[in-house]
Symmetry: C2
Subunit: 269 residues, 2 copies
């Protein structure tokens, strides 16, 4: 049996990573978990996000994945190091790949970051960017209204356009040349975000960059899939599978089967 790459998120955001993994690593099997019953993670306490992330990782370990991808910026910011220290399989988060891509892209050393409250207040991007390149200036903005819109499938409505434009207003005058979409849900809104920020600002999708980093790590560990058969992916979600399936099929452009998982102790805001 081919060992899978396990990808987890608070909801449908990690599908932006999964789609890129499917495109860049078409031979790799994916097992995806979206914690849609407890989304969004952004406003939750670090302690709660850590507990949820451990719980999902434990669920995914039954499938003996070859790698765990924490495809949620909020969970990466607060839980990745702890998860990494307790597992023997490689654990990849979404913050450092985005940071590295921004360092490669920026020419004026002014980088913007948007994300959930949890991600922005953790200052995880700032630490990751400045650890590597101390002269970089980071302008961060929490956009707590974006994830709920995406989880309801509202990617292109006038209301969404209005929310995005007004949320990003504080960044409009900042002379950044790239903006990190520091939440895996945000690529669903990238057309609108791009329109608002204008052509002088390159959007960095941590999803795209994470897929490439997964490829790099699997190669250097000698763990790339060798079969040329196309794999059958598996999808799990903790909430109502109907909306998850609609969004996933539309985003991935293919039919999927979704298995609902009921947590024994539901915990919904």
């Amino acid at each position: 049996m081919q060992q899978a790459i396990a990808i987890l998120d608070s909801g449908v955001g990690g599908l932006t990573v999964a789609k890129e993994v499917m495109r860049q690593l078409p031979q790799e099997k994916i097992i995806y978990f979206g914690d849609t019953a407890r989304t969004p993670y952004g406003p939750r306490s670090a302690e709660e996000v850590i507990r949820f992330t451990h719980q999902i990782v434990d669920y995914l370990l039954q499938f003996q994945p070859k790698m765990i991808v924490i495809a949620c910026n909020t969970a990466t910011a607060v839980a990745m190091e702890e998860i990494r220290s307790r597992l023997s399989v490689p654990v990849v988060g979404v913050i450092h790949p985005g940071a590295r891509a921004a360092i490669k892209t920026t020419r004026n050393h002014v980088v913007g970051v948007i994300g959930t409250e949890g991600t922005i207040y953790s200052r995880a991007y700032e630490v990751a960017l400045r650890q590597i390149s101390p002269q970089i200036q980071v302008m961060s903005l929490a956009c707590p209204r974006f994830v709920p819109l995406v989880e309801r499938g509202m990617f292109r409505s006038d209301h969404t356009r209005h929310v995005v434009a007004s949320s990003l207003e504080p960044l409009r005058q900042v002379p950044m040349d790239c903006l990190i979409l520091g939440c895996t849900h945000y690529p669903y809104l990238s057309d609108i975000i791009g329109d608002v920020m204008g052509p002088g600002v390159t959007l960095i999708s941590s999803a795209d960059e994470t897929a490439r980093e997964i490829s790099t790590i699997l190669y250097h560990k000698g763990m790339l899939a060798t079969s040329s058969n196309y794999p059958v992916h598996q999808f799990f979600c903790s909430g109502d599978p109907w909306m998850f399936k609609q969004i996933a099929q539309s985003w991935l452009g293919e039919q999927i089967k979704v298995t609902p998982v009921v947590w024994q102790v539901p915990n919904i805001i």
Copy 2:
């Protein structure tokens, strides 16, 4: 003492990698070796390139580098696996980073590759690309006239423009959407190559991508430099240091000191 990243090439080509490492990882110290007495490597036998590469690596090991970067596609193609198997420090080549970037970039699955004869006849890019993404079509072309032009510092002459245009003629009608510069010397000619190929073809510099991959691997191994002092790099070359220094200073945009190294048994084509 801060451990350095050791970068080697047949000549000035690897400086395209070094420059990107300086930009993307400004705190990392670099020790660079250009084997200018024996450039170009492209037309040499695999056996000879392997022997030269081992010799340079042995020379660089005296500095106890934390990583060896084989910033020469020809040497990566034939010698990297052997070098990697005998060293305990990480060894990074330039072929897989370029291949991964092309897989991320291409939308029509037709990828062009240009390189030296040694690189192209090794089929190393084809293997790297198709190992990950079997549906990709690869169109490869050896461009043996490019490296000698770069080593003589002729980046912008009419003669160079003519050589590049006529060399690339066979690729002009191929419906590729990206072209891998599969030789670290070629970024010196990227403006001309871009003009010849037109705006529909994205150029992939294995130099830029390798720098990012170095960053990824150092991070995942916990080996990133932690000092915020800017390092003093060291440059060595086996041939006349005058031309090497001219090209290096012009490309890197800073003054450097070059130490000539005389091989005991010179071996010049």
